[in-house]
Symmetry: C2
DNA sequence: TACGTTCCTGAAAACCTTTTCGGTCTTCCG
DNA sequence: CGGAAGACCGAAAAGGTTTTCAGGAACGTA
């Protein structure tokens, strides 16, 4: 049974609009006025069932599809939002984007994607264009999880995702890196590991600091020392994972677990452990961070890791934005909890 | 020196619109009619310089930004295009998207991003929504580089990128996999390799077949046999790369180069070569395919690979689309040539 | 038959901009 | 000084839809 597109909604079963029929055409074909046609298609009550059926049939015949531009003009709502990102190629904006796309039903809201490529000027360009297009709201995804400058006062609600706004009056949604670090170490401890080291990336990243802090907190609670005497900060690369692991093993050959600050680093760690004939996970357990599938699943053995729940973050951003479009927007920083993905690189110690 | 937004263009130096001023407001403030205001801001000639200045000043004061919806309604051109993809998480749509975004100047055209997640119904949903939004054109990015069903006749031009349309009346832009395979083997031959093997992915992928064909063609030209007696088809994974390499070495320990059908596979190949104490590139050269940075750059040693030039493909798609919006669209399949990225995993044999 | 309800329908305004076309004012030439 | 040409400006229509409000038809009741 096939219905006609009504207002914003649309019926996937109907034929695709091949022409450019307008409401006027539908009305003429149905023998009613434009006003009646509109009401019939939008489920307004003041139209007789028989008339409605006539209109619907006409709309189907012409495969009418309402002009959203005109609707937006009159309702003062375009049904679009802008997603302004700074690192499309990076792996962070994509899951967020998917989560957001998911949360806005496809026929309710469409997403304009803009990549500023880290360039401030380009960001302003995009912003101008989006506002000109009368987007109903904006999601800003930063390149790295550290505070970024606020866009200031805009005529539409803005949500900062992944990278929080520097202005506490804005609403930001970020991942809980402290909790993630804690969760990683907790998992290792539960599996009987006692000599846990931590190799991570660029110390200028708040995320690196936060994950380390979470890890140290959890160790402290358990009265355990950090193996290797220090947090091994470096770079977010496999090469650093390899180098740090070598140094670490030299200083402290007795470790039984390594918490890597990213899956990339974890790959380097695994590589050197193999070289040194240390069995994973039986002798040394390894846990990564990010759940970057291509790296984690293909690792040898597949990598236990912390997933930052970025899709969830995107979904949440969309929901908050949606709520804010009518009502008023909150402020401050909200965090999204991480999730442990267990694979084979960690296992209970016998 | 600061100019006001004029028509479609906008000035990044100007203040961001904080309010919702309309042309009427600008006209009133400037003491002219709406028509004159419009003409002044759009660089129409029939307005005195002095008047124009007045209007521009007023527009600046109100930080006016024209309502693109209204413009679209009247010009019958929304200044938007839809990008309909099936694998956002995959690595293929992103570069294409970036190329396309790049080619459409940000203030000329904005991109609606829709991910159908491989679901046909969802694709039709998105399509309906996009047509309702009166996009000026459509780029369809398939999930894998094999022919996909055509969307049929639509009121806007459509370009199929990466995965060609099954209907030859459509215009498709794809990468040249045969050329890529040829280029990879050519590179190895030029570096003095004579015993070249090929390990690749799922044989049901046209891309796997095409790359293999290109490789074999080039070998034949040189009168060289394929080392390992066969093309090693399997899966697009590191694990297969590892497994195939082991089998290959058993059958033919004397190879001096391996062409991997993807960077993922190449990583598996490298892994086993290390285990077997075969030096790369001095004893065995390895070349990958895709130039997937995270895998290729971090490899040990960094991986020479074939880049499919996907950004270029996206840029080209945007250009073709742009041209088609006024004129008429071509048809058939156009290919984009690949590019060799030389890193350290291949080197001349002494 | 006249009148008050109830139910439907349609005319028209509104959203914001672009563009055409007619009108006014200046200027210059004869 | 009269008139033509040119420069500049504004009224109005158009684009496609939603929504308000007034009017018409059918019906029941007195």
């Amino acid at each position: 049974m096939s219905r006609v597109p009504t207002g914003r909604q649309s019926d996937p079963d109907g034929p695709l609009p091949t022409g450019r029929a307008t409401l006027r055409d539908v009305a003429k074909l149905a023998g009613v006025s434009i006003a009646t046609a509109s009401k019939a298609l939008n489920d307004q009550p003041q139209v007789r069932a028989e008339t409605r059926a006539k209109v619907i049939r006409a709309a189907e015949q012409l495969s009418f599809s309402p002009n959203t531009l005109a609707q937006g003009l009159i309702t003062q709502r375009s049904g679009t939002v802008g997603l302004l990102t700074s690192d499309l190629e990076g792996r962070f904006s994509i899951p967020i984007l998917m989560g957001a796309e998911d949360a806005f039903g496809s026929d309710q809201t469409s997403v304009f994607l803009c990549d500023a490529r880290g360039d401030n000027l380009r960001e302003r360009h995009h912003l101008r264009a989006l506002l000109s297009r009368r987007v109903d709201g904006l999601i800003v995804v930063g390149a790295r999880p550290d505070a970024r400058p606020s866009l200031g006062d805009l005529p539409v609600p803005v949500i900062y995702a992944y990278a929080p706004s520097a202005d506490p009056a804005d609403l930001s949604l970020v991942t809980d890196n402290v909790g993630g670090g804690r969760m990683a170490v907790d998992h290792l401890i539960r599996h009987g590991r006692r000599r846990i080291a931590h190799i991570t990336g660029d110390p200028s990243y708040g995320a690196a600091q936060d994950r380390a802090r979470g890890a140290l907190d959890r160790l402290a609670e358990e009265g355990l020392p950090l193996a290797g005497d220090q947090v091994w900060f470096g770079a977010w690369s496999e090469a650093w994972g390899r180098g740090a692991t070598r140094m670490l093993l030299q200083r402290d050959p007795d470790i039984d677990a390594i918490f890597a600050g990213s899956d990339e680093i974890a790959r380097g760690v695994l590589d050197v452990l193999h070289q040194e004939k240390l069995a994973v996970p039986t002798q040394v357990a390894v846990i990564g961070f990010d759940n970057w599938n291509i790296l984690a699943v293909n690792a040898r053995p597949p990598l236990t890791t912390i997933d930052m729940n970025l899709e969830e973050l995107g979904r949440l951003a969309a929901q908050r934005l949606f709520a804010a479009i009518d009502g008023t927007l909150g402020s401050g920083i909200e965090t999204v909890g991480p999730r442990l993905i267990t694979r084979e690189s960690t296992a209970p110690l016998d």
